[in-house]
């Protein structure tokens, strides 16, 4: 087999990983265009570029696309590509499950986008609250497409998560105990366990929604014994762990990149690893902070507010570990490192606004305003996407065999940082001024027009930066400097394989005695395992 059919039938983890990344890229272009339509419509007060109904469909598709068709699959792609390489294995534990998961994911995305062709894209927001999402209020087929597509994607995520768990559990190189597993693989493992516990809640919600819509069940219909709040509870039991599912692997990338470009081992490896487990546990006890505006009683709110603040502690520990890793290191400011440093700053902003939301009265004031929109974008773009861009710059030479252009990389970095902050920082102020999210236009109130215009211009700069980054990737695949096995002088096992790795990653099974097996190999006079 060769060419197209070889990709179609691929079960090799590297090909599956690349397919995930390309599929995420495809849907990112769609989700990005949707974002630009939204920002164009909001550029000035009282604009009417698109109909309100269309606006609802576009923001629903933008949110659903970016979370389920971009963030999750691209992280799964990196997980599937890198995990076996990092733990010294030649393949995933269950290769055919890997292929099944990818194609379920891809066709789930395609199904979601077919809804546009029927003229009824889903329009109830990415969390589709009942009763708005019920047949009585959303009679079109859009939400059926939405629920079916997400059901496929939930199945796919559970499949790929199971595969990653079994891989880390059974395929590690001889000598690699769980205390020596690279942090990216560690955090991918924890995120995968979270998927196994969280995604079924989404699947159950979707089964109930579909039953209500198509089979005349009545889970969310209060007139017949159901409860709309049930949807909110179940959705956020999935939804809050989901935030960490898409941010933990990004933390893992940062934990690999910062040490290599600071020329120091990670500071406090046990704390970075165990704080991840703490985050995973806590994230199941905080879902009600998405529902503070619902009258649930003061004690309930107090418990969930406290839990939500508590989760900032293990997250903060990680930030300090990364800073302490850089402290006193010989830092190399490559583009990958620049994105990693920007991640530290941007994600901290998103984390701090998150703690603000954990304070119930603040949440009451700001719920459903643009402050929420700013917060989620600082977490998911400032956190996940910045870490991902660092990761792409770091691992691109491994995947393609060629280096990305550093000069273009710097240009795209500064454009993305500038555009991102211009687009989203001002939305904090818009939220504080009282601008509601999900309204398709707004009256000419002082500052609303000016701040929205800045946001739209920022979004334009951000898109320009992303396009430059994509151009860099496209050009470097063909014309980049040949990277060799280990262009960054790194320490984990993927850099011992060829770039790009051969079908069989490692000609001989590597042996591991410390957290930096390649350091040991390069410095036989002072190996890591000799010092302890």
């Amino acid at each position: 087999m060769s060419g197209f059919s070889a990709w179609l039938c691929a079960i090799d983890h590297k090909r599956i990983g690349i397919l995930y990344m390309l599929s995420a890229l495809l849907f990112m272009l769609a989700g990005g265009m949707e974002a630009m339509v939204l920002r164009a419509q909001l550029a000035a007060p009282n604009l009417k570029l698109i109909a309100p109904e269309t606006y609802d469909q576009i923001f629903t598709m933008h949110g659903t696309t970016m979370i389920f068709l971009v963030a999750m699959p691209v992280l799964t792609g990196f997980g599937v590509y890198l995990t076996p390489l990092m733990i010294g294995a030649n393949e995933m534990a269950l290769p055919r499950l890997g292929a099944l998961s990818f194609w379920l994911q891809f066709f789930g995305g395609v199904l979601l986008y077919i809804s546009f062709a029927t003229g009824a894209a889903p329009d109830a927001g990415w969390f589709s609250y009942a009763p708005l999402s019920e047949k009585a209020f959303s009679p079109g087929a859009g939400l059926d497409y939405w629920a079916l597509a997400l059901l496929m994607i939930a199945g796919s995520s559970i499949g790929s998560a199971i595969n990653l768990i079994v891989t880390v559990a059974t395929e590690r190189a001889p000598g690699m105990t769980m205390r020596l597993v690279p942090l990216f693989a560690w955090m991918t493992l924890v995120a995968s366990i979270m998927i196994v516990f969280a995604l079924p809640a989404l699947a159950a919600s979707l089964v109930m929604l579909l039953s209500d819509r198509l089979l005349h069940a009545r889970f969310f219909d209060p007139a017949q014994g159901g409860a709309p709040l049930l949807w909110q509870h179940y959705f956020w039991i999935f939804g809050h762990p989901e935030v960490y599912i898409v941010v933990l692997p990004a933390f893992g990338m940062i934990s690999e990149i910062i040490p290599v470009f600071s020329r120091k081992p990670i500071f406090g490896y046990p704390f970075v690893a165990t704080s991840t487990v703490a985050i995973a546990f806590l994230s199941y006890g905080v879902w009600v902070h998405h529902m503070f505006a619902v009258a649930l009683g003061r004690n309930v709110l107090a418990v969930f507010a406290a839990a939500s603040m508590l989760i900032a502690v293990p997250t903060g520990m990680k930030i300090f570990s990364w800073i302490a890793t850089m402290w006193g290191g010989a830092i190399r400011f490559t583009t990958a490192m620049l994105f990693a440093i920007a991640f530290l700053l941007e994600f901290t902003v998103g984390g701090l606004s998150g703690v603000a939301f954990a304070t119930v009265p603040v949440d009451w004031q700001l719920t459903d305003t643009y402050f929420v929109v700013a917060h989620i974008h600082y977490v998911l773009v400032g956190g996940t996407i910045f870490a991902l861009l660092a990761g792409v710059h770091y691992w691109f030479p491994k995947i393609s065999g060629r280096l990305l252009d550093e000069k273009l990389g710097r240009w795209s970095f500064w454009l993305i940082v500038l555009g991102f902050n211009a687009a989203f920082f001002v939305q904090h102020f818009l939220g504080l001024l009282g601008m509601r999210r999900r309204v398709y236009t707004y009256p000419d109130i002082p500052w609303f027009g000016a701040l929205n215009l800045i946001s739209t211009l920022g979004a334009g700069i951000l898109v320009f930066g992303i396009v430059l980054f994509l151009a860099n990737v496209a050009m470097s695949v063909y014309f980049g400097t040949v990277a060799g096995k280990d262009p960054w002088n790194a320490w984990t096992l993927e850099w011992a394989a060829a770039s790009p790795p051969l079908l069989q990653n490692f000609a001989e099974t590597p042996e591991v005695r410390s957290r930096r097996p390649l350091w040991d190999l390069k410095h036989p006079e002072a190996p890591d395992w000799g010092s302890t």
Binding site: A93, L94, I158, V166, A169, F197, P200, A204, A217
Partner: protein, 133 residues
């Protein structure tokens, strides 16, 4: 080694299934009108499924499949609710898998079958016999 992988994978899948059915059963118990189930047919169905599980435990693939098919037909005939429909779909998928997997995968499939039997017991004893909440 292969069996270790598939057993672990199946265990992970069943954890996900357990969360799924737990939430669905909870919702059905408290927020959906439960259709009436004749107690006698409920017990007959339960005995059928327990018998198929016993057959699975003995490693009699085709005995399990035969009893499973009879159970499914009976389930289809006596009950129609979201919960039983979902359980029925999983059982149906399990029957197909049981019919085609190699002998080496039977131990892994057995885990799946035991699990669905437990889910049926939970549905029957908690939702249908536990009375209205």
């Amino acid at each position: 080694m292969t069996e270790r992988r598939t057993l672990l994978g199946m265990a992970m899948f069943l954890i996900a299934e357990a969360v799924f059915f737990f939430l669905l059963i909870l919702a059905c118990k408290y927020f959906a009108a439960i259709p009436y189930l004749n107690s006698r047919s409920g017990w007959i169905l339960t005995i059928l499924l327990l018998a198929s599980t016993a057959s699975m435990w003995r490693g009699w693939r085709w005995g399990t499949i035969a009893l499973g098919v009879i159970f499914l037909v009976g389930l289809w005939g006596t009950l129609s609710s979201v919960l039983t429909a979902v359980l029925g779909l999983f059982l149906f998928a399990g029957l197909i898998a049981l019919a085609i997997v190699p002998v080496s995968a039977l131990r892994t499939m057995a885990l799946y079958w035991y699990f669905l039997t437990a889910v049926w017991l939970a549905i029957f004893l908690y939702v249908y016999r536990g009375g209205a909440a």
